[in-house]
């Protein structure tokens, strides 16, 4: 396993041999790094694909809010994002097996298209607490590379997913149970 070579990242955040924690806990916090204007208007998130957060852990702390401001990209010539702020989301409820795993559907030209969004712990070498909201469309993982040909083609589902993420940011909570009405 490669070791973190960014000297400014505290040792406690290094992945080293720590395990992936596949479940989450009600009350656990997620830390999201964003531009200040996103707090005001949560629709201004850059992308809904691969939305990164840090998890706090519960009981034993995995990370602190400001840790998410560290740059972990070797090609960036700065240590912290000074122009970004931290948005803290609290996990309110989860599936019975302690995951966030939601489904959305859209009827498109007589065919039902399904999207699935999950919160997953994806440790980085220099950032063990790193998590992502990952999206699948009809079983295909949505990435920045295929975004235009997947989510870019299904307006309703894309709107539903953005609404879900915007709601999380605005209400500062992650909820498996909360849905939305259309009236």
């Amino acid at each position: 396993m490669p070791s973190c070579e960014l000297g400014y990242i505290p040792e406690r955040l290094h992945e080293n041999d720590k395990p992936i924690i596949s479940t989450f806990t009600v009350g656990e916090e997620l830390y999201y790094r964003c531009k200040p204007e996103v707090i005001e208007d949560p629709y201004k998130t850059q992308s809904i694909a691969e939305l990164s957060h840090n998890r706090s852990g519960t009981g034993q702390s995995i990370s602190l809010p400001n840790d998410v401001l560290y740059s972990i990209k070797v090609d960036e010539d700065f240590e912290t994002y000074v122009d970004k702020v931290v948005c803290t989301l609290v996990i309110r409820d989860l599936t019975p097996d302690n995951r966030y795993d939601k489904w959305f559907e859209q009827d498109k030209n007589g065919r039902v298209v399904c999207a699935n969004i999950q919160l997953i712990h994806v440790p980085e070498t220099c950032m063990y607490p790193h998590c992502v909201f990952r999206i699948w469309l009809d079983g295909v993982l949505v990435t920045m590379d295929n975004y235009k040909t997947t989510l870019g083609k299904v307006n309703e589902i894309r709107n539903r997913l953005r609404f879900e993420i915007a709601s999380m940011i605005y209400n500062k909570e992650v909820s498996q149970a909360i849905s939305f009405s259309d009236i």
Partner: protein
Amino acid sequence: MTEHLTFLKMETELGQSQLFGQEYEHLLSRNLGNTHPGLHSELNDLFNNILCEHVGLTDFQKAMLFNLLFAFSEIREKIDPSRLSPFQYYTNEDDELVFFRKTHKGVIHIVINPEDCIAYSYIGVDKKRILKFYHNHNQEEFEGLAYKFFI
């Protein structure tokens, strides 16, 4: 209103001509000028500004934008005009045209997608969440949408 939509449709169809599209676009844009029948002058200016600032809007988005601003224009006579001012608009990386308004109760968005539909969303500080799609694009629908956006 109807005349303008007919014009937009004609402009679109002629503009797509492979041989003479550019010439038609030039001619029609010259004739269109800066006035759009039915829109209050402020909203007329807004319509022109949005078209100038966001040149990549699809024909669907242009038509929906006009319908929306026409509805704004209609309801401004029925509600406090000051309510029409505090909103923002922008396009995002999904080429959606987004209208945003913040109130003490929450945030409201109207998303005009590049095609198919418009989405209205409301996220309340009380955690109330509303997401509604509009597919019919008739004037009653836009008037309802305009009221939802401002009230």
